[in-house]
Amino acid sequence: MKGKLLTGNVAAAAAARLARVDYIPAYPITPQTEIIETIADWVREGTMDARFTQLESEHSMMTAAGAASLAGARVFTATSSQGMLYAIEMLYNVSGWRAPMLLVNVSRGVEAPIVLEPDHNDVLAARDSGFLQFHSETCQEVADLVLFAYRVAEDKRVMLPAIVNLDGFYLSFTREPVVLPDQQAVDHFLPPYEPVSPLRASKPVSRGSSVFEGFLYSYFRYNTHAASLRAKEVFNEAAREFEGLFGRTYGPVEGYMLDDAEYVLVMSNSFTALGRQAVRRMRERGVKAGLLKILMVRPFPSEEIAALLRGRKVVAVFDQNLAPGSGGIFYPEIAGALYHVRGRPNAILPVVGALGGKQITAKEMGAVFEEMMAIDRKGKTPSPMFLMRADEMTRVKKMLSVAEGVR
């Protein structure tokens, strides 16, 4: 593919500029910071016509973002990890306001302990906030999904804020070839933002009013849910137009080597590349392996998942996150999508791995497929896999003994 070599962070910033964003409230956090530094540079150099304000916290940043969107500006911002957690109160508010701004999350594990590399507990903490969520595998997807996100979020049938997720380090700081669409085509794909009932002198409005009865609250909440569900069709419409304009496109989910696949790995984000590699390796060994990538996390594409997973022997859900006391976060959602499906897979194997960016070897991926096949062969109930190799455990013990010795 032709294109410029861009980091995921710069791809996100470049797409924001192409989207003619008006306003960027910002707050630094690793590994997202390069995004806001890049934009700050462009705004000060005069190559991006927008207003940039650095706030004093992510909570304030999200408040300013939502409020500016209600006042009629197209708003872009970014965060990671603790920043997402610190902002989360406002995510619920901003979606309740129906303010269609965009938040790019650069995934990083959450504290404690502090870590810099990615897993998805940060972005999945926003799972139930009402934000649409699109997760990217490559730097190209980062740029394209930023444009998709505005197109879908600002559609009158939706009017909800959105998150585009990319993995810290693996995408944020990794240069990949990215084809940036030309401005004219982007302007065609993404018309100017038309706010609904903005704050105005000529026609005052009240936003974020109180409701004191459950039935009114339910009315608002169900409306948000319905709007989120409509986002899928709006996304698909946008995808058709995007393909016409740019010659590539996306769906809520993507299948890889699925045609005759019996053992399917479900993944999201940049580690999907490792999943694809594992599938190819299994295919070389004659195993009918395949992969399903989830790009759209909210709304959750249950029908597409069910359609692509029905008839498979065993499915493994690879969760790069951990809900202590429960397991992976995607697992119950996938299981829920499949429960009423005729010809559903015989078993669904929960796998948790790559926490805090932990490397996953080909051998580990192979073990996941081996386990799927063993479950099928023996007809046994899957028990969850938590990926951690013996050599890694040895390193933990060695480090502890060194520390002990120093003491």
Binding site: D22, Y23, P25, D49, A50, R51, T53, L55, E56, S57, H59, S60, M61, T63, A64, A65, G66, A67, A68, S69, L70, A71, G72, A73, V75, E89, M90, N93, L199, R200, A201, S202, P204, V205, S206, R207, G208, S209, S210, V211, F212, L216
Partner: protein, 329 residues
Amino acid sequence: MATTTRFRTLKDMPTLDYLSPGNTLCAGCGGVLAVRIFHKVLGPNVAWINAAGCMTVTMSYPLSPMKSNWLYTAFASAPAGAQGVRDALDVLLAKGKLPPSEDLKVVVVTGDGAAYDIGLQSTAGAIDRRLDFYYLCYDNEAYGNTGFQVSSSTPFGSSTKTTPATTAFPLGNTTRKKDLFEVWRAMKAPYVATLSNSHGVDFLRKVEKGTGIRGPKLYIALAACPTGWGFDSRESIELEKLAVQTGIWPLKEAVDGVIRHTVVPRTLTPVRDYLKTQERFSHLFEPTEQTEAIEAIQESVNSYWKDVGAREGFDVKIPQGTHPKHPSH
């Protein structure tokens, strides 16, 4: 004060209201009265940015008593909401996407819980960024909307639901009221003022003055609170007047850091006359009088006025003895 003021007497109070009567707040609420007067001066083109508090409940979907724009944000970040609205309006005006007639005055309105406690971080950020906005704090000296719990604005000696006066803790709240005026002044806000509904002309002129000043402007309005303080709702204005006359609530302003007291009570009324009117201080008098505590309050008021009198060149007559034989004012 400036000779250009529109406000000479109370008769100059604008008759046009932008806050309708019949809202959901308590009878005698000093807070909503302050909002109403404030709005009269600013005129209709306002975006109120609110944090959780008593004013939040005036906006009960799908009704609004306000003839202007309103945005409820969250407890901690109303100033950041003001930042977003101001920035959005500025960028849209600059890009020509919005005609100048659509511009709005951005006003944060919160109680003391948000202004003194949970929202202080976002307030400090807005001041640092020289955000052009008004902050109206209706100060009823506790978390009133949740039933009157202590805030850092609660004065010494006030009982609240979380600092009740008991045998073991006879004073109620033992910390001093935070000096938010000085906090803002230290952060170089160009305009900081206190207000009382009982001194309408002073109130009107200060808001008017703020309209000519760019940057962060704070107004702390004393908000007599019948339910929290424990007094008859018809007494609100009288009680606020007494707060000014006793010197407990100084009316002042600071322009670019320079303080001036705008109403000087030449003879201070004893603080006990104010304290005795309210349930929240009743434990200072019953079952036995806590004279030492009352005198400590009196002494802090006295030393405040001696201090500012010396600095600004006026004399204030302080009450002689705090055991007046005539407790009624």
